[in-house]
C-alpha cells in the first residue's frame, strides 16, 4: 500500500563535479520506508551514507547532480523548488546531525532556536512556540526545561545538546526523521539513553526514521530493517535479523565480522 509509505526512494543518484570529471557518490539507491519503521543504513566512512541523506533534504553541495526519485509521503523531493524544500525541511522531514555542538548556534539561546522552527513552519507566536518547545524538551527527557530554554548551547553537556537537537527535529512531528551518526560522538551510556529515547518517541509519534551508522550494535538495538551501503551502492537490504543471521554481501560480512570480534561479549584475544 504505497499511500502508507513515509519515504519511497527509487534510483537515487548523486554525482559531484570534480576536477578530473564527475564522481558518482550515490548510485541508483532504492528503498521504501513505512511510517513507524526504523531503517538503519550501515557502511564505512566515505561510502556515501551522508551524501544520500543530504540529497533527500535537498542539501547536496552546489554543482551536485541529483537524479532519480524520492517521494516524501507522496511528494517528490528530487528537483523540487527550493521554496518547497525549505517548507518541508524541519517540518515534514528533519535531520539530526552527528556533532551536536556545531549543529546549534552558539550565540542564541536554546529557546530562540527551538521556537524559530515553530514560528517559521507553524506560524506560532514566540510565546506559543516557547511553550510548545518546553513541552518537547520535557518529552526528550530534559529536566528543568523552562530553565534550559534560557540557556546557551555551551551550558549543556553533549548528551543534553543531542537531546535538544532531537527535540528540535521533532517539533513539527515530521513524517521522516533522518539521523546521521547521532550518537557516535557520545559516551556509551548517553548513546544508549538517546537510542532508547528514539525508540520511545517512534512509538509515541509514529514517525519513520532513517538512521545512518557504522555501529552494528546500534543497528541491532534500534533498526527494523537494515541497508548496507558500499561505494555509493546499496549492496544489501532486509529485516535486521535476517541480515545479521545470513549476510549476503562481503561488505555486510566484513562489518559484522569486525563487530562480533569487538563485541563486549566476544572472546578476547588474551
Amino acid at each position: 500500500m504505497s499511500a502508507m509509505l513515509a519515504l519511497q526512494v527509487d534510483g537515487l543518484s548523486v554525482t559531484h563535479a570534480a576536477a578530473d570529471g564527475a564522481r558518482t557518490v550515490v548510485s541508483g539507491v532504492s528503498f521504501e520506508l513505512a511510517r513507524g519503521r526504523i531503517l538503519g543504513i550501515a557502511g564505512e566512512s566515505g561510502c556515501g551514507k551522508t551524501q544520500l541523506l543530504l540529497a533527500l533534504l535537498g542539501l547536496s553541495p552546489p554543482g551536485a547532480q541529483v537524479s532519480g526519485s524520492a517521494l516524501l509521503s507522496g511528494r517528490q523531493l528530487v528537483g523540487a523548488d527550493r521554496r518547497v524544500l525549505r517548507s518541508l525541511r524541519g517540518n515534514r522531514i528533519a535531520m539530526v546531525f552527528q556533532d551536536p555542538m556545531t549543529a546549534l548556534n552558539p550565540y542564541l539561546t536554546i529557546g530562540t532556536q527551538l521556537a524559530e522552527v515553530l514560528q517559521v513552519h507553524r506560524g506560532l507566536s514566540k510565546s506559543q512556540a516557547l511553550l510548545h518547545s518546553q513541552h518537547m524538551l520535557e518529552a526528550v527527557g530534559i529536566d528543568a526545561p523552562a530553565r534550559r530554554l534560557r540557556q546557551h548551547p555551551h551550558e549543556l553537556s553533549g548528551g543534553m545538546r543531542q537531546r535538544v537537537l532531537l527535540a528540535m527535529a521533532l517539533l513539527c512531528e515530521p513524517d521522516v526523521l533522518l539521523a546521521d551518526e547521532p550518537t557516535t560522538a557520545l559516551d556509551v551510556t548517553v548513546q544508549a539513553q538517546i537510542l532508547d529515547l528514539l525508540l520511545d518517541l517512534r512509538e509515541r509519534l509514529g514517525m519513520a526514521v532513517v538512521l545512518v551508522t557504522h555501529d552494528m550494535g546500534v543497528l541491532a538495538q534500534v533498526a527494523d530493517d537494515v541497508a548496507v551501503m558500499h561505494a555509493g551502492v546499496l549492496v544489501e537490504q532486509g529485516p535486521v535479523q535476517q541480515l545479521f543471521d545470513a549476510p549476503q554481501s562481503s561488505a555486510t560480512q566484513s562489518l559484522l565480522a569486525a563487530a562480533r570480534q569487538l563485541s563486549p561479549t566476544a572472546q578476547s584475544l588474551i
Partner: protein, 337 residues
Amino acid sequence: MSGPLLLEARDLAVHYRSPGLLRPGPPQAALQGVSLQLDRGEALAVVGESGSGKSTLARALLRLESISAGQVLLRGEDLAILSNEELRAKRRDLQMIFQDPLASLDPRMRIEQILSQPLRVFEPQLTAAARNARALQALQQVGLDASALQRWPHQFSGGQAQRIGIARALLAQPALLVCDEPVSALDLPIRLQVLQLLAQQREQAGVALLFIAHDLAAVRFLCERTLVLYRGQVMEQGPTAALFKAPLHPYTQTLLAASLPADPRAAAASRARRRQLAVAAPVSLPSEGGCVFAARCAFVQPQCAQTPLLRQVGEVQVACHRAGEPALQLRGSDISS
C-alpha cells in the same frame, strides 16, 4: 617478577582550580586516591565516561599534569622529584598515542621527518641513513610501505595516520605505551586492525599498554586488567574477564548495559537491563562526602552517605557498600543472552 614494577601510582590526586581572576574558585578534584600497578608487558585498561578523569590520569602518569598528592614510580623511581633533564630521558620509556591521529602529526612534516624525530632525540648518534632504515622498518611493522615516507599527513586516512602515530611511538622503544582512546575516531573494521596491531606489538616488543577507553569492547579485546573510574575515583578494578562476567559495582554494570551487543536478539534484554539500572528520581544525599555515584545509582541506601572504600570482593576490588549483595547481582552473561 624480580625488581620493582614498571609503573606504579600511589594515591594519586590532581586538582584543578576553576579560573577566576579576582576570586579563584575552590580546587576541584579531577583525580582522587587513584592507585594502580602495571608490570612489564601487561595491558591495563582505564574506562569511564567523559569527565571521569581517564585522560587526566594518563597525563598525570606521564607528568604532563602536575600532581597534587601521591606518587608515580617508574621502575621504583619517583618521577616527581626528577629534574626536567632527567625526566626527558625517562620519557623514552613512556610513549603516548592520541585519540585524533591526524591532529597528532605535524601537517608540515613529511612522514619521514615525523618518524625520525624520536630517533634524533633519543639516539642522536645514529646517521641519517640509519635513521631512515629504522623509520622504514617501523612503517613496515605497522603495515605501511616505503612509499609513505615522502608523503604528508593529510594524504593518509584516519586509520593509516593512527598507524603512523603508533610507529612513531614504537621507534623510541618504550617500555610503556599510553593509548588515549586510540581507536574511538576510527571505523569499526579499521578499529579492529589497529587493535590487532597494538596486540601484536605488545607481544613482539613486550611493550606494556595503558589503554584508555570508553568503549568496553576494545578493552575486552586487548587488556587483561581493567580499572573503572568515575568522577576521578576508582569504582572497581580487577581482571577484565571477571569484571565483564560479573560486574559488582553498579557503575560498571551501567557501563556494560550501555555497551550494545551486535545481535538483534539480545536487544530487548539489553534494553531491559538499562531500565533496571535507571534511577527513577535522583536521590538527594549530602553534597559533601559520600559515594560519588550515589545520585545515579539504582541501589542507593542511607549508608551511601559514607564514602565507600575500595575493598576486595572475590577477584576484584570494588568501592561500593553493597557490592556482592544478591540484590545487585547482574551477571554479564545475561546481557548477551
